[in-house]
Symmetry: C2
Amino acid sequence: MLSNAQVKFITSLQVKKYRELHSRFIAEGSKLVLDFLGSAYHVDTIYAIPEWMRENQTLLATLQPNLQEVTPSELSRITGLATSSPVLAIVKIPDISDNTVNVNKGLTLVLDDIRDPGNLGTIIRIADWFGIRRIICSETTVDLYNPKVVQGTMGSIARVSVKYLPLVSFLSSIPADLPVYGTFLKGENIYKCNLQPDAIVIIGNESYGISDDVALFVTQRIFIPGNHTLDPSSSSAESLNAAVATAIVCSEFRRNLLSPPTGRLTNM
Amino acid sequence: MLSNAQVKFITSLQVKKYRELHSRFIAEGSKLVLDFLGSAYHVDTIYAIPEWMRENQTLLATLQPNLQEVTPSELSRITGLATSSPVLAIVKIPDISDNTVNVNKGLTLVLDDIRDPGNLGTIIRIADWFGIRRIICSETTVDLYNPKVVQGTMGSIARVSVKYLPLVSFLSSIPADLPVYGTFLKGENIYKCNLQPDAIVIIGNESYGISDDVALFVTQRIFIPGNHTLDPSSSSAESLNAAVATAIVCSEFRRNLLSPPTGRLTNM
């Protein structure tokens, strides 16, 4: 049975201040909890209904996490979801004291002030799909351990390294010859760019795009041509959602690796 | 001043049953309301704070919609958003009795049971960006006039035709030589496909993909290669979000139009 103190502690983790205070965050849902159990993250305690415990008894017997059996109505007191799932885990926030980032090989995504938790979660899932293992977030980007971010990653959070750094000093520290692509509403047509596989890609804020001080580091402005590019007299959406733009950009890098344009060599 | 009956009526439109009963839906936020005012949709009544009325007085004097001035606290009683915006409009659901769809020219998106309102809204916004003017939804797809769909389209709903049809009979009625692409987790690598510009593209349900009876109409299965395609020993996300997959597929059709691969002709 859950004590009131436990309920208070768990629900407090919906708020960033308490996640930082306790170095813990919440993961809900069977797939997500199993992904964390199989990752480098330390799962502190699992609250689950008896059916979930039985279904996963072999794994639980091997890993021996802290378990507490709860009823569905107890879960509904601690869930952050509209409909509670059969399991909720408290996971330890890893202690990342090492802020060095090796950007030499492959793509590094840089997020300049992404505010929507759904967008950050989706971007992490996209990165994972395309094998992008590094994301650097501005310190104003929504917290990685916000429950909506964690849920939105669908488990990809366990496979992608996400660090929060002051972007200007981070971008000042990268090799001078590394291409830095930035997505803008005007720039070079992404379908015609010779995208380098070892590079930085900067994605801007949902409303304001890439901030001026970060834009100074961009060596190539790219854009995704909308319908008005084909037909300037037509009206169309003013912009794409930040996660959608990220998906299209990552896809373009990926297609270049898999199907390099004729006559062009890639170094992978 | 809003009457209790008005509040009850407006908030009832959060629910599909009452939207259908009254043939009305809700749009909130200045940009969205202005997009509807400038579209073929009939805006029934606008509830706004005095500042919004003043800012848009020229347009309102021209269009003369029904206006009712409200206070921010009244708006907070009728909003469906976490934070109410300065304006909320009641819009008439257009009477679409014509179920014919001309699929001969350009792309037609077919959504097989998209359930998440955020996904449908984002897909409509993507279609608008890429100049795709027709979306056919299965009758099990989330309601177009769900407030979260309307908000998610960011105004694109006013520019894209969305119809709900039984997919099997719709797909039975299309020309036999029209390519029907379907997104699957296995199929032909989308980056290597010779995508035809006049075609149907089917996007499946978030969890279950394209249903079996609809899949029978697919003439080419396509997939977006994930990291495991480059490196089979790696783990990566199991799937992409449905809206993200739609974005990448639409982008591939668009790049083929703008930069047709050498030696290949397009008919646009």
